[in-house]
Subunit: 142 residues, 2 copies
């Protein structure tokens, strides 16, 4: 009998991800409610990790987060350990953006912390990047 007690839905992570994303965008609960079709009350409960959202709402919210559902519904055994399938190589000058995106996606960080870290990283990276050979014009976008 496969462990009937344990909840396979990571409500805490989902809640944190939503709150982070929402605050980053400067949206209210009711704004997100309008966008996703999930009521503000339910959103509040999910962000605070009380109870467990039903499948429809999980689908709506992960879609809104542009996040894979597996991230939240961990029925599968995800070969724990350094899953380097997550490591991808990328256009080199986009590094700060990539890091920033990753930081934003990291629900262990508050939005403020994520922003601070990405700023720190951006500065440090640009400081140290290509001190001598940045003759090649292609640089950070935006």
């Amino acid at each position: 009998m496969a462990d009937q007690s344990k909840s396979l839905v990571n409500t805490v992570e989902l809640g944190r991800a939503i709150r982070r994303n929402r605050e980053e965008m400067g949206l209210s609960l009711r704004d997100v409610a309008d966008e996703t079709g999930v009521s503000a009350s339910t959103l509040s409960r999910i962000e605070n990790g009380t109870g467990k959202p039903d499948a429809d709402n999980i689908a709506r919210l992960t879609a809104w987060l542009d996040m894979p559902v597996e991230r939240v519904m961990s029925g599968r055994k995800t070969e724990e350990g350094t899953d380097n399938s997550a490591v991808v190589y990328f256009p080199h000058e986009a590094m700060p953006d990539i890091v920033e995106a990753h930081l934003r996606a990291d629900r262990n960080l508050t939005p403020e912390t994520a922003k601070a870290l990405s700023e720190l990283f951006r500065v440090a990276y640009q400081q140290f990047s290509a001190p001598g050979q940045d003759a090649r014009g292609r640089n950070k976008r935006k």
Copy 2:
């Protein structure tokens, strides 16, 4: 306001997949119930497509089927987007490793600089990561 009415869970496909898999293996509903932790009655309902299973049961059953949850919960597929092709979701605590790997892959940095940056990042990240939150145990029974 995203379609509030439409169900985002493909119960029919899930039910069919389960029944096919189960009959292929020559298992009874109660066998699968024992393996997955989903009761036989619920399994019967799901196989016949009546009602909508909750998130936990979907997780359990897709795991048993070794089927990606996206197959059944079609909130939306990650297709377009702002060049997040390089941005992937990753194991939560592996963030510093990811960044380090990226830095190492960056040809604009000397190995020394890459190492220094990754060290800096690692320290800063661990410093700010996960301030107080821990997994709040929410299993009342067992």
